[in-house]
Assembly symmetry: C2
Homo-oligomer: 205 residues x 2
DNA sequence: GTGCAGATATGCAATGGATGCAAGTACGCG
DNA sequence: CGCGTACTTGCATCCATTGCATATCTGCAC
């Protein structure tokens, strides 16, 4: 990796850190892009060559997570059905984002309270959903047409999102509660599809 | 209804119409709030006493749709299970209101192509989802805990949304296409639940 | 009808995100 | 070392959005 690349990566990380720090201290709306740029010691204009918008700063790893999910689908076992694959994709891409880490908690708080951030988060989620649905359809060409794959993926993601929305409405809960809620959500979403997609669908975590 | 109210309603409608007209002719980003306000013959500042943002102009009846869904839940039959009720609520709020209007296709097109609009649409959807989940949990207090209700609702909405996303992937030109896509989406996305509940058993959690 | 209180409308100014442009600076490579 | 390309940056600009102060209107009571 060249010096230039390393430098750029370092600046990028500095921006992410500065953003987290400032959002924490002054709130999202109370922090201007100029503040963040100054804290990372770059010009305000330059900020936008690293992130397309202020919100992007909060989702720096969206691409990686999508790739991780694609990876998980690609590396499925021969006996896995669509439901199993979706479960694995979810675990893979959600792994590093342990919902209970302090950083994640702050991000969730921002998603919950700042409309612009929520809107962006939902868009990213929908984009990810589309990619996953495409891969899923490719993975099971004889069992899932594209529309059905999209519906299945949407049901899965929607259930998880809905459950988390309720669960995370209050203050941060314990890890076990999160696990239980996820289990509930995936069960609810996938159960009706079992006879559509095969029996191996139920999985436990 | 007082004169004041009528006047206000008329201005509001004028703004909606002017917006549709201008977005159509100049594109969303090519149309400024000042343009819209001028076309409706009010001051730019006044626009924001009618709509909180430029995007809101595209979702003037969000409240009514939520109310329609709540209505559908409230008026459930004695033998309906959660899935039946949800199904009816979705069909009602989707069918009832605006999707039949001639501007439906244009709105879909804007949702599809303008990030800000898509973000807002998703937020509105999520908010609606939360309300519906709450009502559903209230309607079946002994069968559904809040998290399960939210997961179930999210699964339904997510499934339909996911299917729609694929069905409306390309440019959308006429309202008829929207209607048939919606029909197909609900059929594909919700079929699994209909079989499921037809057996008499609700989601088994 | 008159006049008041509260709701509305509007103009003005300011903030802040975002973008285009042109000039400056640094890096990679021959 | 020297050049071409990529990265930075300041500047001007556009536009959405908001606060504030002021003017205007409507509903209502008298």
């Amino acid at each position: 990796m060249s010096l230039r690349d390393r430098k750029r990566a370092r600046t990028r990380q500095a921006l992410i850190d500065a953003g987290a720090e400032l959002f924490e201290r002054q709130g999202y709306d109370g922090t201007t892009v100029a503040d963040i740029a100054a804290a990372a010691e770059i010009g305000t204009r330059t900020f936008f060559s690293y992130f397309a918008s202020k919100e992007e700063l909060l989702f720096p790893d969206a691409d990686e997570r999508i790739r991780a999910a694609e990876e998980a689908i690609a590396s499925r076992g021969p006996d896995d059905g669509p439901a199993d694959v979706l479960l694995r994709a979810l675990r893979t891409s959600a792994r590093d984002t342990d919902l209970l880490s302090p950083i994640a908690a702050r991000r969730i708080e921002l998603i919950r309270t700042v409309p612009a951030v929520r809107g962006r988060a939902l868009q990213i989620q929908l984009d990810a959903q589309r990619v996953i649905a495409d891969r899923l359809a490719e993975a099971f060409p004889d069992r899932l047409d594209p529309v059905t794959a999209a519906a299945l993926t949407g049901a899965f993601v929607g259930a998880v999102t809905g459950a988390l929305q309720v669960l995370l409405a209050g203050p941060v809960t314990d890890a076990q509660a999160v696990r239980t809620a996820l289990q509930t959500a995936t069960d609810v979403a996938l159960a009706p599809w079992q006879h559509h997609t095969a029996r191996g669908a139920a999985a436990r975590t």
